[in-house]
Amino acid sequence: MQNPCVTFHRINAGSDRALIALSIDGRAVTGLDGDTLLSVLIMHRGALRRAEAGGDLRAGFCGMGACQDCWITLADGRRVRACSTLAEAGMAIVTNLDHGQ
């Protein structure tokens, strides 16, 4: 069962950060300049991936590049750690979230 509350709550919604357009699995989403890909994915999908061994949902854990739970794939094939990668305009994230368990 997935927690419908998995998201990030921005502290200062009134800041003047630029909007960034990216996509997740072909669907257009927006983030704010300075967001990591972890933030974008958590705020839009509440998870990052399904684990290879077991198919359970994962959403990262340590946020600082130590646990290696947040590896994701971009459309050009590149593998990046979501917590350490800043969102850039035009980035296309590809996930396995829609693949069944």
Binding site: E52, A53, W71, R79
Partner: protein, 385 residues
């Protein structure tokens, strides 16, 4: 080849095996199964050297014809592992694909094709079109390949320990942390094997399965085959979607690759460095860059897959690439089984069964002539270490 039984002894021989790699533990298993009193003495841990860290490939494909009977005997055992020793050690047989990148390499495959068929192996030659159709993820600059069904892989970390466990259950002793410091011939026949950490053992037969250290250990007992120790380098990637069925190799040997059941790609190629002392080894920096590049060239879909680890192991290679199996003239009862030149894992189970035959019955149904320890006698022996 003598045998203990041939000398008219009523009882089964006491056997001391030096080295608990796949050869030593498989031999112990088959001997213990026949009721023999077997002890393995191992300097480190069971399967702690090459047997535990190798690529894990199990194949008949491409073998020298003299090794094929051993490889095929092994294949039968690999397929029955769970029944024999209680665990299948993740053995799978998706086939082995050997890839040619030039017409000369293709000729090599074509020549072996005949040998393979003569041994009733299911081998198939594929041209570029067929390859691209069946394995579209392969790079397009290959000329052709040979596919050998029935070949595959297993999990090297599990095999020697599983054989050892099964041998123990049948009454064998396995002593770890037990380096051998002396082997002496006894007056009435047989040997005494001693070391600092164990009570001296008396045995009728000694099996020298000490891997990369067997040539020096066995020198006083006719281990004339000079071996060269190498440190092949291995790599493993993060798990990724499974799409590579067969185990892959190149005719050139530059790289060999397989995908595990969990999706990790395990591949090897190039050499690392042997550490001073000769017991450990470590990866080489240039190999670390070069071999993954070869992998990306061969399978572009793996271009971005992250590398997790690289490691090396120590393997002994003989001048002709064939193992040393048997006793040297004048050294009855001291059986050598080493120098597998990178084929030890695949053929280990068959070697174990063969050695147990040799010890119990004086002969084996496998022709071991090509592996005779004395075949290198014309070559200058290395000085004892």
């Amino acid at each position: 080849m003598n045998s203990f039984a041939m000398h008219g002894h009523a009882r089964l021989p006491r056997v001391c095996i030096i080295g608990a790699g796949i050869v030593g533990t498989a031999t112990a298993f088959f001997l213990a199964r026949s009721g023999c009193d077997v002890t393995i003495v191992e300097r480190g841990t069971v399967g702690g050297q090459a047997s535990g860290v190798n690529f894990g490939g199990v194949r008949c494909h491409g073998r020298d014809p003299s090794e094929l009977p051993l490889a095929m005997r092994s294949r039968t055992i690999w397929n029955r592992l769970a029944e024999l020793i209680g665990h299948d050690c993740d053995f799978e047989a998706p086939g082995h694909l050997k890839i040619a990148r030039s017409s000369a390499e293709m000729d090599t495959l074509t020549r072996w094709f005949d040998i393979g068929r003569a041994h009733d192996l299911d081998v198939e030659l594929l041209d570029r079109t067929q390859l691209m159709r069946r394995f579209p993820w392969l790079a397009s600059d290959i000329v052709g390949a040979s596919l050998c069904k029935g070949d595959g892989f297993a999990n090297p970390r599990l095999v020697a320990p599983t054989f050892a466990r099964a041998a123990r259950a049948l009454g064998a002793s396995v002593l770890e942390g037990s380096a051998v410091t002396a082997i002496d011939r006894l007056q009435g026949g047989g040997f005494r094997v001693s070391g600092a950490n164990f009570n001296a053992l008396e045995a009728d037969v000694v099996v020298n399965a000490a891997g990369a250290w067997a040539a020096s250990l066995g020198l006083p007992f006719g281990a004339a085959a000079p071996t060269v120790t190498r440190a092949p380098q291995m790599f493993v990637t993060e798990p990724t979607a499974r799409f590579i069925g067969p185990v892959l190799g190149l005719v050139s040997g530059d790289i060999y690759l397989r995908q595990s059941v969990r999706g990790n790609v395990i591949f090897g190629g190039g050499q690392g460095h042997i550490d001073p002392g000769g017991i450990r080894s470590h990866p080489d920096e240039t190999t670390f860059a070069r071999t993954p590049a070869l992998m990306r060239n061969l399978i572009p879909a793996l271009t971005h897959t992250a590398l997790l680890r690289s490691w090396t192991g120590l393997e002994a290679n003989t001048p002709d690439g064939l193992p040393v199996i048997g006793t040297s003239a004048g050294h009855d009862g001291f059986i050598h089984a080493y120098g597998f030149s990178g084929h030890g894992f695949a053929t280990g189970p068959g070697v174990g069964e063969t050695l147990s035959e040799l010890i119990l019955r004086g002969q084996s149904r496998i022709d071991l002539t090509s592996f005779h320890p004395d075949r290198f006698n014309t070559i200058a022996r290395p000085a004892a270490l």
